[in-house]
Amino acid sequence: MSVATKPKLAVYKFASCDGCQLSLLDCEDELLAVAGEVEIANFPEASRAVAPGPYDVSLVEGSITTAHDAERIQQVRKESRVVVTIGACATAGGIQALRNFKDVREFISLVYARPEYIQTLATSTAIADHIPVDFELRGCPINKYQLIELISALLRGRKPNIPKHSVCMECKFRGTVCMTVARGTMCLGPVTQAGCGAICPSFDRGCYGCFGPKETPNTSSLSAWLKDNGDKRPDELVRAFRGFNAWADAFRKESEAHE
């Protein structure tokens, strides 16, 4: 493929920690191959050289938290053929969506000496709440192998192998013993989408739900079980579901049910 016909890739940042776009730079072994197949046209975190749009693929990180960003995202959509949102901020509002459960003006008045300088929206919301999105890549942060898989699939025009089933299946694939059953550990695996490779349970930690709700999540059944068998109090359940994907519909409703 000649340079002139390489698809153009852009990377955009909204309210986020940069961790997800850094996953692209973290691709080390595959990064050269990525650079060989696509023109990295707009990626300020990696290079100051910015080629003008339109772009074939735009990776969008971060959530919408300001009026300015709500406008900026419209422009991203206009100049991108395919928009892929990456990470929990972009797909669910991120950890900063905790503000959605409270009054953000109160926070501002407590935190900033001159609150009048701060312009922000009352909520932190997913990109898909503002523009049509072609694919959402979950995770906090995203998994770099899923990112490579997605880019490879987009380049070949095939379906990406990004499952929507539970983390439990990944534990079973790798032979990790179920901690909930064998120890009574609180774990969001049964309601969380796979993709991380079930890292936490393999390090003796229950799943924190970084990849957000799986397809058809039965959060109320999991809560009932945690209450009855794991002695979890309602406030612990609220905190469990209010992580990086607190504003994802299924997790939001479940945490509100225990408030």
Binding site: A33, E37, A153, M169, V181, S221, W225
Partner: protein, 373 residues
Amino acid sequence: MKILERNNFHRLFDVLKESGFDIIGPTLQDQAIVYDHLEGVEDLPEGWTDEQAPGKYRVKKRNDKALFGYVVGPTSWKKFLYPPRQKLWSAQKAGSGFEVAAEEGVPQKMAFLGVRSCELAAIAVQDKIFCGGSFVDPHYKKRRENVFLAAVNCAEPKGTCFCVSMNTGPRALGGLDLSLTEMIEGERHYFFLRSGSAEGEKVLSRLPLKDAEGGQQKKEDALLEEARRHMGRAMDTRDIKRLLYDNPDHPQWDKAAERCLSCANCTMACPTCFCSTVEDVSDLTGEHAERWRKWDSCFSLEFSYIHGGNVRQSTKGRYRQWMTHKLASWQDQFGTSGCVGCGRCISWCPAGIDITEEVKAIRADQPARAESP
């Protein structure tokens, strides 16, 4: 029937290793007794047992030094015969076309040590699925042909066991190379051994064995009879096919769906569940592609995706599909039940759904039916 003393038990490992087998058996890992590669007797969970209930599994110390004093854990042998992820073939771009390379690796000879009777039944079920019909799965067959099965009779069933109901235990009968019964009588610790195949006979012939004395058979019979009477659970399987076929709209399915997480743990833990999906993967350059087979589950939405959408949208539909297949339509499909009574789906369900209780609930309000002809 022969006797192998505990202090000679390591010889079994030696003989199996000398015969070229990679020994796989129970070992203590992450607070559970799992199946993994074993180097020697010291890798067995000596002096450990397990306690099992719906959604609950705990390992505990025993007050003796039994090597096999527990039942089945989270792993099943299918992991070794039918791995969770398997590359089927790969393709490399060549000129205007591509070249396909099959995955031709010859699997290592494996000896499964400590296979329980329910698990022998499960292996027989999967043999039928993968090798019994007109289409033989070459990947499964290649592994299966190289496996030596050393079974252990179950003396202490646990809370979620119901092999007696499914007619698969507790005594390990056919389809094995070797069977063992562990005996502990005060200070004396030994094993009854029997061979079940020519390969098993060869292994036996190389072990320091004694002949069992008269009356010892009775001891073994008594032990297994005791086990038979202590099943943690029971399932009434009479006319079960009709029971489930007649009740697709029973309210119990809704109750199960309220609890069901559709997490797929039951199907992953089940030793007979065999469903898979196939993934085609291409690399960034598009020069190299691979086809992989991965375990899948009727509890995932994608599993029932056909043109136009997912056939089983509701968790109720998925749970009903799984249980009805396992206990009823499996019989039409393979001439046997898909359930062997090992209890894994009960213990390893994070919501503690109990298949025996589900059957009971559906059966409970059935009108008395005339005996089928």
